[in-house]
Symmetry: C2
Subunit: 346 residues, 2 copies
């Protein structure tokens, strides 16, 4: 058990802050919770006392007194998904600091907005909706119409209609393509993502922007459809590799497909990266499982959920769902170089 004495900050209470700021405890509470309007001079005093004393509220007292707990729900589609672990990690971290409760709810990946609508207000105070659920049509509209605090993750968001957190898929895709070009590849095949996902469009656009600026060929037999699955990666890989003038590098728009390309190459007796370079996107567990390990783009998943929880906290505290502007916030990604890509031998 962690007693008060063992914890550093725990001894500083709201009363201490009130004394330090020369106001009543009630005023401190009001400032901290955006409850009603506080004169801005008073507000500043309180805030600086909070800062100076490094006060952090006791969540147990808060929820006991108010009789309420803030419940943040993280939706997920697949319990054995590679993403889930990292998403939970970040959410857990933030939720712990804020004294919120984290609920984790499995829903069908193609859940209808109506199904979601039922338990919205009665069950949760805020929702985190990661891909691929964030791509379900109508969910943004529902949240907007209901005025319900919700943050969408890694869906290549539509600016202005919802709170979104992701990475710049277009730029990341360009970076990966430029990396391949920098290696010396002049003929690069591309495997598209699932047509229903907005990120697919962005990643492909990034790729095309890059190759066309470099004056390299693209489209036609160098562009193959895919569905973000391993199996579609095998088929696309086979198709690309068996063509008359096969590419020296293949950019699969996610890791599962890139792993599939590896399988296709091996089926054709081709060595990666000696005979063909293969790169993916996502840095999912399979990237470091297969051999050779995949060069790929890493998304900061746990950071995304961490920020999502913080954002939800702000939105909920405001009371009015429209105070915090609905924008897309882009986090840093990284290009991770591993063994699956190298310069072409030619």
């Amino acid at each position: 058990m962690t007693t008060k004495k063992e914890r550093g900050k725990a001894s500083i209470t709201l009363i201490d802050v009130a004394k330090h700021a020369g106001v009543s405890p009630m005023t401190v509470s009001r400032v901290l919770n955006n409850l009603s309007i506080v004169k801005s001079a008073t507000r500043e005093k309180v805030l600086s006392s909070v800062e100076e004393l490094k006060y952090s509220p006791n969540q147990a007292a808060r929820s006991l007194a108010s009789g309420r707990t803030t419940r943040i729900c993280l939706l997920y589609g697949n319990p054995s998904s590679a993403y889930l672990g990292e998403l939970l990690l970040g959410a857990l971290e933030a939720v712990g600091k804020l004294g919120f409760q984290l609920i984790v709810n499995r829903v069908p990946e193609d859940i209808s907005p109506d199904t979601l609508k039922k338990d919205l207000h009665s069950t949760w105070d805020g929702l985190i909706i990661p891909a691929p659920i964030s791509d379900v049509a109508g969910i943004r509209r529902l949240m907007d119409a209901e005025g319900f605090p919700a943050v969408f993750l890694e869906s290549g968001g539509v600016e202005g209609r919802a709170h979104e957190i992701g990475i710049d898929d277009f730029q990341a895709s360009k970076d990966m393509t430029d990396f391949l070009i920098g290696l010396g590849h002049k003929r690069i095949g591309y495997i598209q993502g699932h047509p229903n996902h907005r990120t697919s469009v962005l990643r492909q656009a990034g790729f095309e922007d890059s190759v066309s600026k470099a004056g390299l060929p693209f489209g036609g037999e160098l562009m193959t459809p895919g569905f973000f699955t391993y199996r579609s990666g095998i088929e696309a890989g086979l198709q690309l590799l068996k063509s008359d003038n096969p590419p020296t590098a293949i950019f699969a728009s996610n890791d599962d497909m890139a792993a599939g390309v590896l399988a296709a190459a091996s089926e054709l007796g081709l060595k990666v990266p000696r005979d063909v370079s293969v790169v993916g996107f996502d840095d999912s567990p399979i990237a470091t499982t297969v051999w050779p390990n995949l060069t790929t783009i890493r998304q900061p998943l746990s950071e995304m959920t961490e920020q999502a929880v913080r954002l939800l906290s702000e939105i909920i505290n405001e009371g009015n769902n429209n105070v915090i502007p609905k924008t897309t916030s882009l986090l840093d990604y990284s290009l991770i170089k591993r063994e699956s890509a190298s310069a072409p031998i030619s």
Copy 2:
């Protein structure tokens, strides 16, 4: 926010229970927390009132009054591990009900017990240690010596020295082998697990028990070493498949290696399961990513952490670390039949 009125049970308090049982609130508290000895008649009365009223303590009040929070820490080795998500799911569920705090801590997979010892008592109240960290030598001894509440997961536990939760690896392995035999396979290759993991020994023993009872050949060129990695699976697969008298089925003792065998087969131009059946163990995400999907053994990971948290709660409540007997508790597993195994064509 969830107010008291919205929640069903929230209105029944300890005071209600005390009245109902005709005792003081203090006595109820004592019964609930195993604090000091309560006359067993009184105890029964209280317990039945708790039951009848469906009382569940308000955790916020509890931790405010006591000034303490119970912190359960889940150790993990790899944030992008397939396991992590499901482990967290179960832990989160149980922790929410008990009003505990869940901390999640990354440690090196070969962490030394001494490193762990430092923050033990000062940082956590209980520890959940899943594989492969649970296989690190000396950790059990440390927990035992420190009298620290800890539960070990999926490590094919040593009875009596620690609290362990897992599945019967021996029997599960036998089941899988029997399944292959039932399909008609008479020559089954086996890929061993990492030699440092206790589960490797158990799985291999189960396999050998099964094939020897069926009068089938085993050992020799049908038994190959592996390290639970995809890459070692490729090598082992290649070795088995290239032998003079290759097996018609290969049992890889985890999914990553089974996926490697798939790659090996494809490299040799062999179709799975037509030319060779391949099965794994664990039902990790890769099992449903690769094609064909792997027939494998599924462990109830989230159930394991759920039980682990409950067990820790009991241990912590007892105050004395030796009251709850240190045993290995075995949960149900399941054999999941997918596309990678079929009857041999012969």
